[in-house]
Protein backbone atom coordinates (compact mmCIF):
# COMPACT_ATOMS: atom_id res chain seq x y z
CA UNK A 1 0.00 0.00 0.00
CA UNK A 2 1.45 3.38 -0.93
CA UNK A 3 1.14 5.94 1.82
CA UNK A 4 0.85 9.20 -0.06
CA UNK A 5 1.62 11.18 3.09
CA UNK A 6 4.98 9.52 3.76
CA UNK A 7 8.22 11.42 3.36
CA UNK A 8 9.52 8.71 1.00
CA UNK A 9 6.60 9.26 -1.34
CA UNK A 10 7.19 12.99 -1.27
CA UNK A 11 10.85 12.39 -2.11
CA UNK A 12 9.84 10.18 -5.02
CA UNK A 13 7.43 12.80 -6.36
CA UNK A 14 10.12 15.41 -5.88
CA UNK A 15 12.65 13.39 -7.85
CA UNK A 16 10.15 12.60 -10.62
CA UNK A 17 8.92 16.17 -10.62
CA UNK A 18 12.39 17.60 -11.09
CA UNK A 19 13.98 14.90 -13.23
CA UNK A 20 11.16 14.21 -15.67
CA UNK A 21 10.86 17.77 -16.99
CA UNK A 22 14.67 17.81 -17.15
CA UNK A 23 14.63 14.61 -19.21
CA UNK A 24 11.98 16.03 -21.53
CA UNK A 25 14.05 19.16 -21.88
CA UNK A 26 17.13 17.12 -22.70
CA UNK A 27 15.46 15.30 -25.57
CA UNK A 28 14.08 18.54 -26.96
CA UNK A 29 17.59 19.61 -27.77
CA UNK A 30 18.29 16.48 -29.76
CA UNK A 31 16.65 17.72 -32.94
CA UNK A 32 18.11 16.97 -36.37
CA UNK A 33 17.11 17.66 -39.97
CA UNK A 34 17.07 15.07 -42.75
CA UNK A 35 19.48 16.13 -45.52
CA UNK A 36 19.36 13.12 -47.85
CA UNK A 37 16.27 12.38 -50.03
CA UNK A 38 15.17 10.08 -47.23
CA UNK A 39 16.43 7.99 -44.30
CA UNK A 40 15.12 4.55 -43.35
CA UNK A 41 13.30 3.84 -40.10
CA UNK A 42 13.60 0.16 -39.13
CA UNK A 43 11.15 -1.52 -36.78
CA UNK A 44 13.95 -2.65 -34.47
CA UNK A 45 17.60 -1.98 -33.65
CA UNK A 46 19.27 -4.09 -36.32
CA UNK A 47 19.52 -4.18 -40.11
CA UNK A 48 17.46 -7.40 -40.16
CA UNK A 49 14.36 -5.51 -39.00
CA UNK A 50 12.20 -4.27 -41.89
CA UNK A 51 12.02 -0.64 -42.97
CA UNK A 52 8.47 0.45 -42.17
CA UNK A 53 8.75 4.24 -42.56
CA UNK A 54 11.05 6.80 -44.06
CA UNK A 55 11.76 10.39 -43.11
CA UNK A 56 12.05 12.74 -46.08
CA UNK A 57 14.45 15.56 -46.78
CA UNK A 58 13.75 18.61 -44.62
CA UNK A 59 11.85 16.73 -41.94
CA UNK A 60 13.02 17.20 -38.38
CA UNK A 61 13.56 14.30 -36.02
CA UNK A 62 14.27 13.82 -32.33
CA UNK A 63 16.82 11.28 -31.13
CA UNK A 64 15.30 9.56 -28.10
CA UNK A 65 17.66 6.72 -27.21
CA UNK A 66 20.49 4.54 -28.41
CA UNK A 67 21.07 0.77 -28.32
CA UNK A 68 24.53 -0.24 -29.55
CA UNK A 69 24.93 1.60 -32.90
CA UNK A 70 21.21 2.13 -33.52
CA UNK A 71 19.19 5.21 -32.59
CA UNK A 72 15.49 5.38 -31.81
CA UNK A 73 14.06 8.54 -33.38
CA UNK A 74 10.71 10.29 -33.68
CA UNK A 75 9.95 12.33 -36.79
CA UNK A 76 7.80 15.47 -36.94
CA UNK A 77 4.87 13.42 -38.34
CA UNK A 78 4.97 11.37 -35.11
CA UNK A 79 6.46 8.35 -36.90
CA UNK A 80 9.00 6.41 -34.87
CA UNK A 81 11.69 3.93 -35.73
CA UNK A 82 15.32 2.87 -35.52
CA UNK A 83 18.05 4.53 -37.59
CA UNK A 84 21.54 3.12 -37.83
CA UNK A 85 24.56 5.19 -37.06
CA UNK A 86 25.70 5.60 -40.69
CA UNK A 87 22.32 6.99 -41.77
CA UNK A 88 22.04 9.29 -38.77
CA UNK A 89 25.38 10.80 -39.80
CA UNK A 90 23.66 11.94 -43.00
CA UNK A 91 21.45 14.40 -41.11
CA UNK A 92 22.09 18.04 -40.27
CA UNK A 93 22.29 19.52 -36.80
CA UNK A 94 20.24 22.65 -35.91
CA UNK A 95 23.10 24.82 -37.22
CA UNK A 96 22.73 23.20 -40.62
CA UNK A 97 26.02 21.31 -40.41
CA UNK A 98 26.52 17.64 -41.18
CA UNK A 99 26.17 15.67 -37.93
CA UNK A 100 29.44 14.31 -36.56
CA UNK A 101 28.92 11.47 -34.11
CA UNK A 102 31.97 10.82 -32.04
CA UNK A 103 33.09 7.32 -32.96
CA UNK A 104 35.39 5.92 -30.32
CA UNK A 105 38.71 5.27 -32.00
CA UNK A 106 42.01 3.67 -31.22
CA UNK A 107 42.97 7.10 -29.82
CA UNK A 108 40.26 6.91 -27.19
CA UNK A 109 41.55 3.52 -26.18
CA UNK A 110 45.08 4.88 -25.88
CA UNK A 111 43.75 7.70 -23.70
CA UNK A 112 41.45 5.49 -21.62
CA UNK A 113 41.38 5.72 -17.86
CA UNK A 114 40.18 2.26 -16.84
CA UNK A 115 39.82 -1.11 -18.48
CA UNK A 116 37.75 -3.95 -17.01
CA UNK A 117 38.02 -7.36 -18.60
CA UNK A 118 37.61 -11.09 -18.32
CA UNK A 119 39.74 -13.85 -19.83
CA UNK A 120 39.66 -17.61 -20.06
CA UNK A 121 42.43 -20.02 -20.95
CA UNK A 122 44.68 -22.66 -19.47
CA UNK A 123 47.06 -22.65 -16.53
CA UNK A 124 49.19 -25.83 -16.64
CA UNK A 125 46.46 -27.72 -18.57
CA UNK A 126 43.77 -26.61 -16.12
CA UNK A 127 41.02 -24.28 -17.36
CA UNK A 128 41.47 -20.82 -15.87
CA UNK A 129 39.11 -17.85 -15.64
CA UNK A 130 40.20 -14.42 -14.58
CA UNK A 131 38.91 -10.92 -14.14
CA UNK A 132 41.14 -7.85 -14.20
CA UNK A 133 41.01 -4.13 -13.66
CA UNK A 134 43.57 -1.98 -15.44
CA UNK A 135 44.41 1.64 -14.73
CA UNK A 136 46.33 3.53 -17.41
CA UNK A 137 49.14 5.73 -16.12
CA UNK A 138 50.39 6.97 -19.47
CA UNK A 139 49.64 5.97 -23.06
CA UNK A 140 52.28 3.22 -22.79
CA UNK A 141 52.17 2.16 -19.18
CA UNK A 142 49.45 0.82 -16.93
CA UNK A 143 48.95 -1.07 -13.68
CA UNK A 144 46.62 -3.99 -13.33
CA UNK A 145 45.07 -6.21 -10.64
CA UNK A 146 43.93 -9.74 -11.55
CA UNK A 147 41.96 -12.42 -9.73
CA UNK A 148 41.94 -15.88 -11.28
CA UNK A 149 40.71 -19.37 -10.61
CA UNK A 150 42.04 -22.52 -12.27
CA UNK A 151 40.34 -25.86 -11.82
CA UNK A 152 42.40 -28.95 -12.59
CA UNK A 153 41.69 -32.65 -12.23
CA UNK A 154 43.56 -33.01 -8.93
CA UNK A 155 43.47 -29.50 -7.52
CA UNK A 156 42.05 -26.06 -7.95
CA UNK A 157 44.00 -22.89 -7.47
CA UNK A 158 43.13 -19.28 -6.88
CA UNK A 159 45.56 -16.53 -7.58
CA UNK A 160 45.74 -12.79 -7.06
CA UNK A 161 48.38 -10.66 -8.71
CA UNK A 162 49.42 -7.14 -9.47
CA UNK A 163 51.04 -6.26 -12.79
CA UNK A 164 52.93 -3.47 -14.43
CA UNK A 165 52.16 -3.37 -18.16
CA UNK A 166 54.20 -1.74 -20.91
CA UNK A 167 52.54 -1.21 -24.25
CA UNK A 168 55.27 0.36 -26.39
CA UNK A 169 53.27 0.65 -29.63
CA UNK A 170 49.89 1.76 -28.31
CA UNK A 171 48.87 3.15 -31.71
CA UNK A 172 49.25 -0.18 -33.53
CA UNK A 173 46.12 -1.99 -34.61
CA UNK A 174 47.38 -5.20 -32.97
CA UNK A 175 49.29 -3.70 -30.11
CA UNK A 176 51.76 -5.90 -28.19
CA UNK A 177 52.33 -5.53 -24.46
CA UNK A 178 54.69 -6.89 -21.85
CA UNK A 179 53.79 -7.64 -18.26
CA UNK A 180 55.70 -8.05 -15.06
CA UNK A 181 53.94 -9.03 -11.88
CA UNK A 182 53.91 -10.53 -8.42
CA UNK A 183 51.22 -12.32 -6.55
CA UNK A 184 50.07 -15.20 -4.46
CA UNK A 185 48.64 -18.58 -5.43
CA UNK A 186 46.66 -20.94 -3.20
CA UNK A 187 46.46 -24.53 -4.41
CA UNK A 188 43.63 -26.62 -2.97
CA UNK A 189 43.71 -30.37 -3.70
CA UNK A 190 40.39 -32.08 -4.49
CA UNK A 191 38.48 -33.26 -1.41
CA UNK A 192 38.36 -36.81 -2.73
CA UNK A 193 42.15 -37.10 -2.52
CA UNK A 194 43.71 -38.66 0.53
CA UNK A 195 45.09 -36.19 3.06
CA UNK A 196 44.61 -32.97 1.11
CA UNK A 197 46.78 -30.06 2.25
CA UNK A 198 46.41 -26.52 0.92
CA UNK A 199 49.55 -24.92 -0.43
CA UNK A 200 50.16 -21.22 -0.48
CA UNK A 201 53.01 -19.72 -2.50
CA UNK A 202 54.11 -16.35 -3.74
CA UNK A 203 55.15 -16.03 -7.33
CA UNK A 204 56.73 -13.75 -9.87
CA UNK A 205 55.41 -13.59 -13.41
CA UNK A 206 56.45 -12.32 -16.81
CA UNK A 207 54.26 -12.32 -19.88
CA UNK A 208 53.51 -10.91 -23.26
CA UNK A 209 50.29 -10.35 -25.09
CA UNK A 210 48.41 -8.50 -27.73
CA UNK A 211 45.44 -6.16 -27.59
CA UNK A 212 43.13 -5.30 -30.46
CA UNK A 213 40.65 -2.43 -30.43
CA UNK A 214 37.33 -3.68 -31.87
CA UNK A 215 34.72 -0.93 -31.77
CA UNK A 216 33.09 1.51 -29.39
CA UNK A 217 34.64 0.71 -26.01
CA UNK A 218 35.50 -2.89 -26.65
CA UNK A 219 38.94 -4.57 -26.89
CA UNK A 220 40.10 -8.15 -27.40
CA UNK A 221 43.13 -9.45 -25.58
CA UNK A 222 45.37 -12.51 -25.78
CA UNK A 223 48.37 -13.25 -23.57
CA UNK A 224 50.83 -15.87 -22.44
CA UNK A 225 52.43 -15.85 -19.01
CA UNK A 226 55.27 -17.63 -17.29
CA UNK A 227 55.05 -18.00 -13.51
CA UNK A 228 57.83 -18.86 -11.10
CA UNK A 229 56.39 -20.14 -7.82
CA UNK A 230 58.74 -19.51 -4.92
CA UNK A 231 58.05 -22.99 -3.60
CA UNK A 232 61.60 -24.22 -2.90
CA UNK A 233 61.88 -25.67 0.59
CA UNK A 234 64.46 -27.54 2.62
CA UNK A 235 63.26 -30.77 0.99
CA UNK A 236 62.90 -29.38 -2.51
CA UNK A 237 65.58 -27.34 -4.22
CA UNK A 238 63.80 -26.03 -7.30
CA UNK A 239 61.16 -23.42 -7.71
CA UNK A 240 58.12 -24.55 -9.71
CA UNK A 241 57.57 -22.98 -13.12
CA UNK A 242 54.18 -22.96 -14.78
CA UNK A 243 52.78 -21.55 -17.97
CA UNK A 244 49.48 -19.95 -18.82
CA UNK A 245 47.68 -18.71 -21.93
CA UNK A 246 44.41 -16.82 -22.04
CA UNK A 247 42.02 -15.03 -24.34
CA UNK A 248 39.45 -12.46 -23.37
CA UNK A 249 37.77 -9.16 -23.87
CA UNK A 250 37.49 -5.90 -21.99
CA UNK A 251 35.54 -2.69 -21.95
CA UNK A 252 37.33 0.60 -21.35
CA UNK A 253 35.98 3.87 -20.03
Amino acid sequence: MINIFSTKFFLLVLILGVLLPAAVRASENQQLIVAEPFIDLHSGPGSAYPVLQVLERGETLLVLRQVTNWYFVRGQREVEGWVNRDQLQLTLNPQGQRLQLSQLQQDDFIQRGWELGVTTGELEQAPVMSIYLNRALTANMSVEATLAQAIGSVSSSRLAKGNLIMQPFAEWNYSPFFTLGFGNMRVQPKVTLVNPIDRDSDFGQVGLGIRKFINRNFVLRAEINQYVLFSATNERDDNEEIEEWKLGFAVFF
Binding site: T7, V18, Q31, R65, V67, N69, F218
Partner: protein, 215 residues
Protein backbone atom coordinates in the same frame (compact mmCIF):
# COMPACT_ATOMS: atom_id res chain seq x y z
CA UNK B 1 9.23 17.78 12.29
CA UNK B 2 7.96 15.29 9.71
CA UNK B 3 5.31 17.76 8.46
CA UNK B 4 7.92 20.50 8.26
CA UNK B 5 10.16 18.30 6.11
CA UNK B 6 7.27 17.45 3.82
CA UNK B 7 6.35 21.08 3.48
CA UNK B 8 9.97 21.88 2.60
CA UNK B 9 10.04 19.10 -0.04
CA UNK B 10 6.75 20.33 -1.49
CA UNK B 11 8.10 23.88 -1.75
CA UNK B 12 11.24 22.51 -3.42
CA UNK B 13 9.09 20.56 -5.86
CA UNK B 14 7.03 23.60 -6.78
CA UNK B 15 10.16 25.74 -7.11
CA UNK B 16 11.79 23.03 -9.25
CA UNK B 17 8.81 22.94 -11.59
CA UNK B 18 8.69 26.73 -11.60
CA UNK B 19 12.27 27.06 -12.80
CA UNK B 20 11.67 24.52 -15.54
CA UNK B 21 8.60 26.40 -16.74
CA UNK B 22 10.34 29.72 -16.39
CA UNK B 23 13.18 28.52 -18.63
CA UNK B 24 10.78 27.37 -21.27
CA UNK B 25 8.46 30.39 -21.10
CA UNK B 26 8.75 33.43 -23.39
CA UNK B 27 10.97 36.30 -22.34
CA UNK B 28 8.96 39.31 -21.16
CA UNK B 29 9.45 42.60 -23.05
CA UNK B 30 11.85 44.96 -21.28
CA UNK B 31 10.42 48.24 -20.00
CA UNK B 32 12.03 50.31 -22.74
CA UNK B 33 9.53 48.90 -25.25
CA UNK B 34 11.96 47.27 -27.68
CA UNK B 35 11.42 43.52 -27.89
CA UNK B 36 14.60 41.66 -28.66
CA UNK B 37 13.97 38.63 -30.90
CA UNK B 38 14.60 35.42 -28.99
CA UNK B 39 16.80 33.21 -31.13
CA UNK B 40 16.98 29.69 -29.85
CA UNK B 41 20.39 28.26 -30.59
CA UNK B 42 19.98 24.61 -29.76
CA UNK B 43 23.02 22.42 -30.02
CA UNK B 44 22.99 18.72 -30.75
CA UNK B 45 24.70 17.13 -27.77
CA UNK B 46 25.44 13.47 -28.37
CA UNK B 47 26.21 12.82 -24.71
CA UNK B 48 22.56 13.55 -23.85
CA UNK B 49 21.33 10.54 -25.82
CA UNK B 50 20.18 7.83 -23.45
CA UNK B 51 22.38 4.83 -24.20
CA UNK B 52 20.86 1.44 -23.28
CA UNK B 53 23.56 -1.19 -23.78
CA UNK B 54 23.52 -2.84 -20.36
CA UNK B 55 20.97 -5.20 -18.89
CA UNK B 56 20.57 -6.58 -15.38
CA UNK B 57 18.57 -9.82 -15.42
CA UNK B 58 16.92 -11.58 -12.48
CA UNK B 59 16.82 -15.30 -13.26
CA UNK B 60 14.50 -18.02 -11.85
CA UNK B 61 14.18 -21.61 -12.95
CA UNK B 62 15.20 -25.20 -12.46
CA UNK B 63 18.42 -27.12 -12.83
CA UNK B 64 18.74 -30.87 -13.01
CA UNK B 65 21.94 -31.67 -11.12
CA UNK B 66 22.90 -35.13 -12.38
CA UNK B 67 22.19 -37.76 -9.68
CA UNK B 68 21.02 -35.04 -7.28
CA UNK B 69 17.53 -34.32 -8.61
CA UNK B 70 15.84 -31.32 -10.17
CA UNK B 71 16.15 -28.24 -8.03
CA UNK B 72 15.03 -24.63 -8.12
CA UNK B 73 17.58 -22.11 -9.28
CA UNK B 74 17.89 -18.36 -8.75
CA UNK B 75 20.47 -15.93 -10.02
CA UNK B 76 21.52 -12.61 -11.39
CA UNK B 77 23.02 -11.79 -14.76
CA UNK B 78 24.67 -8.68 -16.18
CA UNK B 79 24.65 -8.40 -19.96
CA UNK B 80 26.40 -5.94 -22.27
CA UNK B 81 25.24 -5.61 -25.86
CA UNK B 82 28.27 -5.10 -28.09
CA UNK B 83 26.30 -4.70 -31.33
CA UNK B 84 22.82 -5.73 -32.53
CA UNK B 85 23.98 -9.34 -32.76
CA UNK B 86 26.56 -9.97 -30.08
CA UNK B 87 26.29 -9.72 -26.31
CA UNK B 88 28.41 -10.83 -23.38
CA UNK B 89 27.05 -11.89 -20.02
CA UNK B 90 28.30 -12.60 -16.52
CA UNK B 91 25.97 -14.76 -14.42
CA UNK B 92 25.87 -15.98 -10.84
CA UNK B 93 23.44 -18.78 -9.93
CA UNK B 94 22.52 -20.63 -6.77
CA UNK B 95 20.73 -23.90 -6.11
CA UNK B 96 20.89 -26.87 -3.77
CA UNK B 97 21.44 -30.56 -4.53
CA UNK B 98 18.75 -32.98 -3.39
CA UNK B 99 19.34 -36.51 -2.04
CA UNK B 100 20.38 -39.09 -4.61
CA UNK B 101 18.12 -42.11 -5.25
CA UNK B 102 20.79 -44.25 -3.60
CA UNK B 103 20.63 -42.24 -0.39
CA UNK B 104 16.83 -42.40 -0.34
CA UNK B 105 16.65 -46.15 -1.08
CA UNK B 106 19.28 -47.32 1.39
CA UNK B 107 18.38 -44.76 4.04
CA UNK B 108 22.03 -44.81 5.04
CA UNK B 109 24.44 -42.03 5.78
CA UNK B 110 24.15 -39.03 3.44
CA UNK B 111 26.82 -38.72 0.76
CA UNK B 112 27.24 -35.00 1.22
CA UNK B 113 26.94 -32.60 4.11
CA UNK B 114 24.37 -29.81 3.94
CA UNK B 115 27.11 -27.35 3.05
CA UNK B 116 28.43 -29.56 0.26
CA UNK B 117 24.94 -29.72 -1.23
CA UNK B 118 24.94 -25.98 -1.85
CA UNK B 119 25.32 -25.38 -5.54
CA UNK B 120 26.99 -22.14 -6.64
CA UNK B 121 27.73 -21.40 -10.23
CA UNK B 122 29.43 -18.47 -11.95
CA UNK B 123 29.81 -18.24 -15.69
CA UNK B 124 30.72 -15.93 -18.55
CA UNK B 125 29.12 -16.40 -21.90
CA UNK B 126 29.08 -14.92 -25.34
CA UNK B 127 25.69 -14.73 -27.04
CA UNK B 128 24.63 -14.28 -30.63
CA UNK B 129 21.16 -13.10 -31.70
CA UNK B 130 20.56 -15.68 -34.40
CA UNK B 131 17.01 -14.76 -35.39
CA UNK B 132 15.93 -11.24 -34.49
CA UNK B 133 12.19 -10.83 -34.93
CA UNK B 134 8.91 -9.36 -33.89
CA UNK B 135 6.01 -10.85 -31.96
CA UNK B 136 2.46 -9.58 -32.30
CA UNK B 137 0.08 -9.64 -29.37
CA UNK B 138 -2.68 -7.83 -31.28
CA UNK B 139 -2.88 -5.42 -34.22
CA UNK B 140 -1.59 -2.55 -32.10
CA UNK B 141 0.98 -4.28 -29.91
CA UNK B 142 4.33 -5.45 -31.27
CA UNK B 143 7.35 -6.64 -29.34
CA UNK B 144 10.88 -6.98 -30.65
CA UNK B 145 12.28 -10.41 -29.96
CA UNK B 146 15.38 -12.49 -30.61
CA UNK B 147 16.19 -16.15 -30.65
CA UNK B 148 19.78 -16.39 -29.47
CA UNK B 149 22.45 -19.00 -28.90
CA UNK B 150 25.19 -18.68 -26.35
CA UNK B 151 28.23 -20.53 -25.09
CA UNK B 152 30.60 -19.93 -22.25
CA UNK B 153 32.50 -21.33 -19.35
CA UNK B 154 32.36 -21.04 -15.61
CA UNK B 155 32.97 -22.48 -12.19
CA UNK B 156 30.55 -24.67 -10.29
CA UNK B 157 31.04 -25.13 -6.58
CA UNK B 158 29.29 -28.34 -5.56
CA UNK B 159 30.03 -31.40 -3.43
CA UNK B 160 33.00 -29.71 -1.79
CA UNK B 161 34.95 -28.85 -4.93
CA UNK B 162 35.14 -26.21 -7.62
CA UNK B 163 34.37 -27.70 -11.00
CA UNK B 164 35.28 -26.17 -14.32
CA UNK B 165 32.09 -25.96 -16.37
CA UNK B 166 31.30 -25.63 -20.06
CA UNK B 167 27.88 -24.18 -20.77
CA UNK B 168 25.86 -23.77 -23.95
CA UNK B 169 22.24 -23.06 -24.70
CA UNK B 170 19.50 -21.41 -26.65
CA UNK B 171 17.13 -18.69 -25.52
CA UNK B 172 14.39 -16.28 -26.45
CA UNK B 173 14.31 -12.62 -25.54
CA UNK B 174 11.20 -10.49 -25.76
CA UNK B 175 11.60 -6.75 -25.21
CA UNK B 176 8.52 -5.73 -23.23
CA UNK B 177 9.18 -2.02 -23.45
CA UNK B 178 12.23 0.19 -23.63
CA UNK B 179 13.46 -0.57 -20.12
CA UNK B 180 12.65 -4.24 -19.65
CA UNK B 181 12.84 -7.59 -21.42
CA UNK B 182 11.67 -11.14 -20.69
CA UNK B 183 14.02 -14.08 -21.10
CA UNK B 184 13.47 -17.78 -21.46
CA UNK B 185 16.51 -19.99 -21.79
CA UNK B 186 17.46 -23.64 -22.01
CA UNK B 187 21.08 -24.66 -21.38
CA UNK B 188 23.35 -27.56 -20.70
CA UNK B 189 26.13 -27.24 -18.14
CA UNK B 190 28.85 -29.87 -18.39
CA UNK B 191 31.27 -30.55 -15.56
CA UNK B 192 33.18 -33.51 -14.12
CA UNK B 193 32.00 -35.19 -10.93
CA UNK B 194 33.98 -37.70 -8.88
CA UNK B 195 31.64 -38.11 -5.90
CA UNK B 196 30.92 -41.76 -6.77
CA UNK B 197 34.54 -42.80 -7.01
CA UNK B 198 35.13 -42.58 -10.74
CA UNK B 199 35.50 -39.31 -12.55
CA UNK B 200 32.63 -38.82 -14.96
CA UNK B 201 31.38 -35.96 -17.08
CA UNK B 202 27.89 -34.83 -16.09
CA UNK B 203 25.24 -32.92 -18.05
CA UNK B 204 23.19 -30.58 -15.93
CA UNK B 205 20.21 -29.21 -17.80
CA UNK B 206 18.94 -25.80 -16.86
CA UNK B 207 15.69 -24.05 -17.69
CA UNK B 208 15.24 -20.45 -16.61
CA UNK B 209 12.93 -17.48 -17.00
CA UNK B 210 14.27 -13.99 -16.51
CA UNK B 211 13.17 -10.41 -16.36
CA UNK B 212 15.59 -7.61 -17.03
CA UNK B 213 16.21 -3.95 -16.45
CA UNK B 214 17.76 -2.24 -19.47
CA UNK B 215 19.97 0.75 -18.71
Amino acid sequence: METGLRRFLLILLICGQGTVWAQQGPVAAPEGGLVEPVVERSEFDESLIDSDDFELIAVFGYISIEDFGVNSLTGLSLAYHVNPHVFVRATGLRSEGDRTSFETLTGGAPLLTAQEREFEYYRLDLGYNLLPGEAFLDAATTFNTALYVSAGMGTTSFAGDDRSTISYGIGYRLILWEYSALYSEFRNNVFDMDVFGENKSTSNLEFTLGISLIF
